[in-house]
């Protein structure tokens, strides 16, 4: 019982760090301390791992400790957070692109990766897929299928960002905003973020297909 309470406390802190991390990744300019960090440690902030990823990793560390104390509870919390976090992030990331397909198509062209005639159809389809899969991973029980779709999307982002870095194209990733040319460090941050987010995605593929409600109340809903 004591172990469960301690695990609960650790998981609460992990949840707070995880939510902060996700919001920091999604809206880095809203958080005042990110400005403070840029001023104080420009090099560390620009060339090291994004602060949001650090918070997410700290949350993972707390989860590991909680897992030793109460594995079943920790797994439930981890699956819920991973699905809400990844789903929410994909929904937020798609909104800007859905609102302005033209600017997103212009941004995709800057990657110089896809054949010219495929840029517009991809700029129309990609945000729709992000939005629908983001919603689906939260509300539907198809965890494995949605995680595989997220994995494919992450792979496509990683390949495109690596291509941009390899060819020295300092462009914005277009993940959460549609801007023009950007600093190369931004591309590195996006690449590292996508690589880190592969971990929960791969883990979710191994989980059982069930809705978020079924995770917490497995016997009540059939």
């Amino acid at each position: 019982m004591k172990k469960s309470i301690l695990a609960g406390i650790l998981l609460t802190f992990a949840t707070i760090f995880f939510c902060l991390g996700i919001f920091e990744i999604s809206f880095p300019h809203i958080f005042a301390w990110s400005e403070l960090l840029i001023d104080s440690f420009p090099k560390i902030y620009r060339y090291s791992i994004h602060i949001g990823v650090t918070e997410a990793l700290l949350a993972t560390l707390l989860m590991v400790f909680a897992c030793f104390l109460d594995k079943i509870l920790s797994m439930k919390v981890l699956e819920t957070l991973s699905r809400l976090g990844l789903g929410g992030m994909f929904i937020f990331a798609s909104l800007f692109k859905i609102q302005d397909p033209h600017n997103f198509a212009v941004l995709m062209a800057q990657y110089q990766f896809l054949p010219h005639d495929l840029i517009n159809p991809m700029a129309l389809m990609m945000p729709s897929a992000e939005f629908l899969v983001g919603i689906a991973i939260i509300i539907t029980p198809f965890t494995k299928e949605n995680s595989i779709l997220l994995l494919f999307m992450f792979f496509s982002f990683i390949i495109a960002l690596s291509h941009a870095l390899f060819h020295d194209l300092a462009i914005t990733c277009g993940c959460f905003a549609l801007e023009g040319a950007q600093d190369k460090a931004e591309t590195w941050t996006s690449l590292i973020r996508d690589l880190v987010l592969l971990i929960p995605t791969l883990w979710l593929i191994t989980r059982k297909n069930q809705s978020l409600i079924q995770i917490w109340f497995p016997h009540k809903i059939k």
């Binding site: 212009v106 945000p127 729709s128 040319a181 191994t206």
Partner: protein, 60 residues
Amino acid sequence: MKWKQTWKHTISVLNWKYFIAIAILTFAFAIVNNLRQSPETKVDWIGGQPLLEETAGEPL
């Protein structure tokens, strides 16, 4: 070895109809979304966009 078994199991239990349903929904969503755009934000289904001058690096 365990990973191999996990992957084999995952592939065998996948609901392939779900992928088809998501693909159809995505296509329908993209069509509707493009139709409701203003002329400034709308794009043609076939075609691309020019490279911006401010894009750093040499064009490939």
